[in-house]
Amino acid sequence: MTIRKSVLFACGTGVATSTVVSNAVVEAMKERGIQINASQCNAAEVRSKLHGVDLVVSTTPVPKDLGVPTITTLAFLTGIGKADVFDKIEASLRG
């Protein structure tokens, strides 16, 4: 059964890298039966965009005390460790 989750994708400008990461994660999670409602922002805005968000995926450091699970990763930009991070994201969303 498909589950629905809300993920906030963050990067420095909220334009370039988070777009690529968002696309990669939404596609991969669809294959794993998780429908993602994706939103995007820049790193400075993260705290104000957390309403209803299940997970934050960021390419740049974000505050540690957001109160929402956060994964900071370059895997979808560099290709290094991509499969592991997909597993981590899935585990967090199903957890």
């Binding site: 990067c11 777009t19 696309n23 560099t78 290094i80």
Partner: protein
């Protein structure tokens, strides 16, 4: 060349074996090419330098020479374009994921993007390139613009006296 990249690459905004002193130097020199071609506002260079200082764009690939993707807010962009520099010698950029670390960079893709939804294909192409070590090596080895374009277009290097319809 992947279609998304081809759509936004400007040959006049490619620098081969650029000798630069610092990440800021690389950003300013690529930005001045973008500005000269009317792709960005005069505010782009400083904005890209400031953004790099706060949110760096060095991507560690585990290679001797890695990649950086400097960019800044869409408000400074007039027409979307990708600029590329291969560096004569590596320059340190800070690591996007951990700004306290530095990454030696030999290849720079400057992303002047103003509509992420329309330019997603280009962004994906750039990231696809970054994930292809053979392509990185070919770009780093390129001696001139033709070598760079041949690599991006997936052509063999052009031999002397060899006509190429591309």
């Amino acid at each position: 060349m992947a279609n998304g990249l081809a759509a936004l690459l400007d040959r006049d905004c490619v620098a081969v074996k650029l000798t630069a002193d610092s990440a800021e130097d690389v950003i300013r020199r690529l930005a001045s090419k973008l500005e000269a071609k009317g792709h960005v506002r005069s505010t782009y260079a400083q904005a890209a330098v400031d953004r790099e200082a706060k949110y760096p764009t060095g991507l560690p690939l585990g290679l001797p020479e890695n990649v950086a993707v400097p960019h800044t807010d869409p408000v400074h962009v007039l027409s979307p374009v990708i600029a590329i520099a291969t560096l004569g010698r590596p320059v340190d950029f800070a690591n996007m994921e951990d700004p306290d670390e530095t990454v030696p960079v030999g290849l720079v893709f400057m992303l002047a993007i103003n509509d992420k939804d329309r330019q997603i294909e280009t962004l994906q192409d750039v990231m696809g390139l970054i994930q292809d070590p053979e392509m990185i090596n070919r770009l780093l080895a390129a001696d001139n613009l033709e070598d760079v374009m041949a690599a991006l277009e997936g052509r063999e290097p052009v031999e002397e006296d060899d006509e190429d319809d591309d």
